[in-house]
């Protein structure tokens, strides 16, 4: 037996005035009557039954005291742990970074874990429990099982993540599991710091909320700006609580570089600049010195780019439009060569052939070619010419991002080579008759985009969306992410973009753990749970490209501890449970009926004196 509202027992204080009413002599109102002759007889009758009268008075008092006790009992919302086994329970544990908050002692997660262990302890014979973790992607941690020790072991292993969670998906998963188990009366219990809105309509869904009105400040963003001689870092610091002063520390490559004390107004976010950071810096970390209810987001960081240049060789007689369109990207190092001229180096990441296609293609690197000649290795044929009538985007296009913001309706092309669509290629642009004008595809890990016409025979360079088309192609062929510098939130997957000549990629987590991938097909790095700097090394023969990225706390999602804490009504009420335990049954209704029965009895005794 437990009570969900122990304050209800305060109603017992009503007993005091009740007894006082019995102790105090009643005030009688005067009334003149013709004769007290008969009333004296009544009085004598009452006197004759005085022992019973006294008893009746006491009985009334006892009944009324019992009624108050039942009333207080009902207000205290008693919970019965009785129940029959054989029921399926699914426990969803929210592992978001918010659960690390210590506004509920010892922490939200610890409180949730304790409650879940308590739940397991109270399981009846025949009950089974499945534990689902609501992580970035929900997954089943354990069960269904009735082995309490096993389940408790799993519960003790649950740790909060550093990112956000998708509680809704976890609930959907749990509902599916419950249906699959096919046992009636199943219940889903969510242990979280918030309750999902609209969950009231699901009778099987119960929320156990562990949330306080935590005070928190967070470093929400760290960025930088590289000038000729040094770096200036920008940090954003948000306050999710009352106004206060905080001390900010700046560490550059692990060493303390600067300290600032700033004033944080309530519910505001401020910018703090950190100039004069050496140009050689690779990592900047801004942190709040003072402790608050969530330490995790007190640190923000940024990895500074190594500025690996993407090397592009443009083979052309002269094409200013193309040269400018390609050079728009700052990380591209563009070299030009005349047709037939052999480049000094062969380690370009991208080759652009403005007319024709060499019989012997470079060993590595992606390719853009205009008006290509037939090529046996590629399976490309180029026979005859066509005069395209209108240019349209292939309705069945495979790479829609390449045609984003491109409007080819105004393109005019005088002549084009009639080309086929080699295996692995797809048509991006075509004329109205369906002849390919721009095809793209991959062959042996090498990406290619082939225009079947010369830019000199079209008005394409004069069109406003020409640079857009070229940049779309460049982003596909040599993505900017290849420099590896960037930021990602904890738990979010990071697609790695290898250099064309890379054969393998190694990712080292802040904890020193190494992950190895083949460079192609481009891998996706998933294990971004740990906050901090990740080092990325791409191996390309004897060369290596080094870079890194920072995994950050999604502060927008987790830092405001109060966002979902609104149901808390009283300060100091650190733990609020919005649902009963699965084996609990609120029995205040039962107590209410008993109270009603008692009141009826009291009324009957009062009126009949029996």
């Amino acid at each position: 037996m437990a009570f969900r509202n122990p304050w209800g027992w305060l109603a017992l204080l009503l007993i005091l005035p009740l007894i006082l009413l019995y102790i105090l002599k009643k005030q009688h109102e005067d009334m003149n009557i013709s004769s007290t002759l008969l009333w004296q007889q009544v009085f004598r009758d009452l006197q004759a039954t005085r022992p019973w009268q006294r008893l009746r008075t006491q009985l009334l008092l006892i009944l009324q005291v019992l009624a108050i006790i039942l009333f207080a009992f009902s207000l205290a919302r008693p919970i019965s742990f009785s129940g029959q086994g054989g029921i399926s329970y699914i426990a969803i544990v929210d592992t978001s970074a918010r659960m690390q908050a210590v506004d509920v002692r010892p922490s939200r997660m610890e409180a949730a874990r304790t409650a879940l262990l308590d739940l397991i302890r109270r399981m009846k014979t025949g009950d089974v429990l499945t534990i689902v973790l609501a992580d970035q992607q929900p997954f089943v941690l354990a069960g269904p099982s009735d082995d309490k020790a096993l389940l408790a072991g799993y519960v003790n292993e649950i740790q909060p993540s550093n990112g956000k969670t998708d509680l809704g998906s976890a609930v959907q998963l749990a509902q599916t599991l419950l249906q699959d188990q096919g046992r009636d009366g199943g219940q889903i219990h969510v242990f979280s710091d918030k309750a999902l809105s609209g969950a009231d309509s699901h009778e099987e869904l119960f929320f156990h909320v562990f949330a306080g009105n935590g005070e928190n400040a967070a470093v929400t963003h760290v960025g930088y700006n590289v000038s000729d001689r040094n770096i200036t870092a920008l940090s954003r610091v948000a306050n999710y609580g009352t106004g206060r002063n905080v001390t900010l520390e700046l560490k550059v490559d692990g060493s303390l570089h600067n300290v600032k004390e700033v004033s944080l107004p309530a519910d505001e976010e401020i910018s703090v600049y950190w100039p004069d950071i050496p140009a050689s810096a690779r990592e900047v970390v801004v942190s709040i010195s003072e402790e608050d209810d969530l330490l995790l987001d007190n640190t923000g960081m940024a990895a500074i780019s190594d500025e690996h240049k993407v090397k592009v060789l443009l083979t052309t007689e002269r094409n200013v439009f193309l040269e400018r369109a390609v050079s728009l990207r700052g990380d591209i190092e563009l070299l030009k060569a005349n047709p037939g001229e052999a480049p000094e180096s062969s380690d370009f990441h991208l080759y652009i052939y403005d007319g024709g296609l060499p019989a012997l293609l470079p060993e590595t690197g992606h390719i853009i070619a205009f008006s290509p000649s037939a090529h046996e290795d590629l399976g490309l044929t180029a026979e005859g010419e066509i005069q395209p009538s209108g240019v349209i985007i292939n309705p069945q296009i495979q790479y829609p991002s390449l045609m984003q913001y491109v409007e080819p309706e105004g393109y005019q092309i005088a002549n084009a080579v009639r080309v086929n669509v080699p295996e692995g290629f797809t048509v991006l642009l075509q004329d109205r008759a369906g002849s390919p004008l721009l095809i793209a595809g991959e062959r042996d890990g090498r990406r290619m985009a082939l225009f079947s016409f010369s830019l000199h025979d079209s008005n394409l360079p004069l069109k406003a969306d020409f640079p857009i088309l070229i940049q779309n192609l460049l982003n596909w062929l040599v993505p900017p992410g290849m420099t590896f510098t960037g930021q990602v939130f904890a738990g979010d997957p990071l697609p790695l973009s290898p250099f064309p000549d890379a054969t393998g990629i190694i990712v080292r987590s802040p904890g020193g753990r190494e992950y190895s991938f083949d460079a192609y097909p481009p891998p996706v790095f998933h294990d971004t749970r740990e906050i901090g700097f990740y080092e990325v090394v791409q191996e390309a023969g004897e060369r290596t490209y080094s870079g890194g990225f920072a995994v950050l706390v999604p502060t927008d999602e987790v830092s405001d501890l109060r966002t979902d804490s609104q149901p808390l009504e009283e300060e100091g009420d650190r733990v609020m449970q919005t649902a009963a335990y699965p084996f609990q049954r609120e029995i205040w209704m039962l107590a209410g009926w008993a109270l009603l029965l008692l009141l009826l009895t009291e009324w009957w005794v009062y009126h009949h004196g029996i």
Binding site: H28, E29, M31, S35, T36, V42, H608
Partner: protein, 295 residues
């Protein structure tokens, strides 16, 4: 009150004239009346003497006896003659209770009884009683005396305590002369009424009793914790009015009324128990006739 006494309309009075008080036993004494009697009187044979009282027929004075004893006696014969009707009207304070007041109905009934008696050539005497006889109207006869009755009744106040036993026993004019005594009261007297009834029966009275109780007494609607104060004695009883106590009260009331009924039955006393809210017509022309008090 007095105006109420005077507002009996002629129709009502004419109806009353057709009524007569019914005596169970023969009465004796008094001058000639319309009552059949085995008493001695003028028409049949001489029966007895009795001392003269004002109002007696002068012609029946036995002057021989006066000559011998120097006291006035009249001759009594077996004959039809008038009866003495004595109305004992309870005028204690408790009769001034209720809505409508018990005393109002009691006074009206006293007037009715007096009128019926006078209309039948009976002699009527009225005694206002509390714990003693506080006022009394001497016996008189003839319809002309009815106005005096009303005037007498008008001036009667309701005050003092009730003691029918003491007051009726102290009423001297009965003088063992057979007659009819009518007691109008609520009979809520601490010392009861038994001695009074026995006294009246001893005085050879045919007794009729009219118990008048107010609606508040018959079916009290009070509630809460009350200090009930007796209007006559100022004694009080503290009770908490509950359904239980009201039930006990009704039980006590029923017992009281049943005791009165039983007593009257045993003593051959005609009894009528009514509420003060009953209409006069219903009381006179239905209830009284049903009980046989009048015919």
């Amino acid at each position: 009150m007095g105006s109420q006494m005077k507002t009996f309309d002629p129709d009502f009075l004419s109806k009353l004239e057709r009524l007569a008080l019914q005596n169970i036993r023969p009465v004796r004494g008094g001058t000639g009346g319309s009552r059949r009697s085995r008493a001695r009187g003028q028409a049949i044979e001489f029966s007895d003497f009795r001392e003269y009282t004002p109002g007696d027929d002068y012609r029946r004075i036995d002057w021989n006896a006066y000559a011998r004893f120097e006291r006035l006696f009249i001759k009594l014969y077996m004959e039809e003659r008038e009866a003495n009707v004595t109305i004992f009207l309870d005028t204690s304070a408790s009769m001034n209770y209720g809505e409508p007041g018990k005393g109002i109905l009691a006074k009206k009934m006293a007037a009715v009884f007096a009128y019926i008696a006078l209309a039948n050539y009976d002699r009527v005497g009225i005694a206002a009683v509390t714990d003693t006889v506080i006022h009394q109207h001497p016996y008189f006869s003839g319809k002309a005396g009815y106005a005096r009755v009303l005037k007498f009744l008008d001036n009667l106040p309701f005050e003092g305590r009730t003691s029918l036993n003491k007051s009726i026993q102290s009423f001297e004019p009965l003088m063992s002369r057979k007659g009819i005594s009518i007691v109008l009261s609520d009979f809520l007297a601490e010392d009861g009424y038994m001695d009074a009834f026995h006294y009246l029966k001893y005085q050879q009275q045919d007794v009729a009793a009219l118990q008048i109780l107010s609606p508040e007494e018959l079916d009290p609607s009070m509630s809460g914790a009350l200090r009930l104060i007796d209007m006559e004695t100022n004694e009080h009883v503290e009770v908490e009015i509950t359904p239980r106590t009201l039930s006990l009260y009704k039980k006590a009331l029923n017992t009281h009324m049943e005791t009165l009924r039983q007593t009257c039955s045993n003593l051959e006393i005609a009894l009528l128990q009514v509420g003060s809210d009953i209409s006069l017509e219903q009381l006179v022309f239905e209830k009284l006739q049903q009980t046989g008090m009048i015919r």
